[in-house]
């Protein structure tokens, strides 16, 4: 097993961690963190694919590397949007979680004022 496979397995483990955090942690901010962890695990698997396909005098296949660069930027854009949503939720309801105490309509719905 060479270094690249080790990092690929690390990526697989990170996918497991991230998915566990995404499912079990009730706060939206922690879910966003876990989503980022999950994403970076997937990127590491891509990194393994790139390194394994090294040929033509290069250290790695550049096509998966370009895909990972694109993916990092897109993941950041999604994270920024998600955090803006969480902060807006905080502004509207004053709470940081999605659970409501009284299901069946909240009376804090002031509309898009």
């Amino acid at each position: 097993m060479n270094a690249a496979t080790l990092f690929g397995l690390c990526g697989a483990a990170l996918v497991g961690f991230g998915l566990y955090g995404l499912v079990t942690n009730p706060e939206p901010l922690r879910k966003i963190l876990a989503f980022n962890l999950l994403g970076s695990g997937v990127f590491l698997v891509f990194g393994l694919v790139s390194r394994r396909a090294a040929a033509a005098g290069l250290g790695g296949d550049p096509v998966p590397q370009a895909m990972v660069i694109t993916a990092i930027v897109v993941a950041f854009a999604a994270t920024a949007m998600a955090i803006a949503l969480v902060l807006r939720l905080l502004q509207e309801t004053g709470r940081s979680t999605l659970h409501v105490d009284n299901p069946g309509g909240t009376d804090t719905d002031r509309g898009n004022s």
Binding site: A3, T5, L6, F7, L9, C10, G11, A12, A13, G16, F17, G18, L19, Y20, V23, T24, P26, E27, L29, R30, L33, A34, L37, L44, V45, G47, L48, S50, A53, A54, A55, A56, G57, L58, G60, D61, P62, V63, Q65, A66, I69, T70, I72, V73, F76, A77, A78, A80, I83, A84, V86, L87, L90, G94, R95, S96, T97, H99, D101, S113
Partner: protein, 313 residues
């Protein structure tokens, strides 16, 4: 067991440990700090995987910009009331088993590579010299898959529009609510006066050198955004309101120039986003510079958040 493999094993152990502590931490603040450190360790892992461009992007965007967003969110959410409903133990056990199975399946897929290993590297290098570029990743980003890069820039603008649209109706067109720590003569002001000139040079250097060596528009744009954010947070320049025309112009200049060159390619060369022979490198460099500006402005505005107050007339 060479020294390098000991280093790799140590790095992987550190990465997994910090990743686990980010998930398992009780408070949000240590989790976010752990995530920033995790991003920087991942950058080292990318260098070990011979992907230096990706390492630069991960350190800049994954570690730096995402960390800044998360820290700002944690600071605001500190006084929010969440109901601390922890998921029940059976749910957590079931989720743990499922995630372990998924990770194991992924590991099995990793450990059984296809034979022979498919690779696109020879095809990339075959025509790279024609475009005048020396960096194969830049070649993939701007020559072979230029459409992906154009759409990625559009995705950034769409995300920014999404963030802006979360503002209440009454403050639409106003100033984003970035926390400003303006103390004239303070240490932060000193940093904001000293670092941005260096940072701007580094940003354009990274964009320029990306044609030959690791670097590129995204990495340079992120450093540019960081310098702009530093200047705004220290109170040295006012945060622009989102209805300013220069802001909107700078945001779209990158994708518009990219799109224009692509459409011109339909006339002057063979297809959309095809470059006329011999002019590829100057066109690509022009696109990269415009893209660096746009990405810097877009990332800076993404990190500032939606508008929160209206400028006093």
């Amino acid at each position: 067991m060479t020294i390098l493999s000991v280093f790799d094993i140590g790095l992987v152990v550190l990465i997994l440990g910090i990743g686990a502590s980010t998930i398992a931490a009780r408070e949000a603040f240590p989790a976010v700090i752990g995530y920033v450190v995790y991003g920087l360790l991942l950058a080292i892992a990318w260098v070990r995987l011979s992907a230096v461009d990706v390492a630069l992007t991960e350190a800049a965007i994954g570690g730096g910009m995402t960390g800044m967003l998360l820290l700002g969110a944690v600071a605001r959410l500190r006084f929010a009331e969440g109901n601390d409903v922890r998921t029940s133990l059976p749910t957590r056990l079931a989720a743990g088993v499922m995630c372990a199975l998924i990770a194991a399946g992924l590991a099995i897929a990793i450990l059984s590579p296809p034979d022979p290993i498919p690779t696109l590297a020879p095809m990339v290098m075959e025509h790279l010299a024609q475009s005048g570029l020396g960096n194969p990743v830049a070649g993939v980003l701007f020559v072979y898959r230029a459409l992906d890069t154009l759409l990625e820039k559009v995705v950034l603008i769409l995300a920014l529009l999404g963030v802006w649209s979360l503002a209440p109706d009454s403050v639409w067109g106003g100033i984003p609510g970035l926390r400003v720590y303006a103390r004239p003569g303070g240490t932060l002001t000193f940093l904001a006066q000293l670092l941005p000139p260096v940072g701007i040079v580094v940003a354009f250097y990274m964009c320029w050198v990306g044609a030959k060596e690791p670097g590129g528009a995204f990495q340079g744009g992120t450093v540019l955004a960081a310098m702009w954010l530093l200047v705004m947070i220290a109170g040295l320049k006012r945060i622009p309101s989102i209805s300013q025309s220069w802001l909107r112009l700078l945001l779209v200049v990158g994708p518009v120039i990219f799109l224009a060159i692509g459409l011109a390619g339909m006339v002057l060369a063979n297809a959309f986003l095809d470059y006329p022979a011999g002019y590829a490198k100057p066109l690509i460099v022009a696109v990269e510079v415009a893209l660096t500006l746009s990405i810097g402005v877009a990332l800076g505005m993404l990190a500032s958040g939606p508008p929160e107050r209206v400028r006093q007339p």
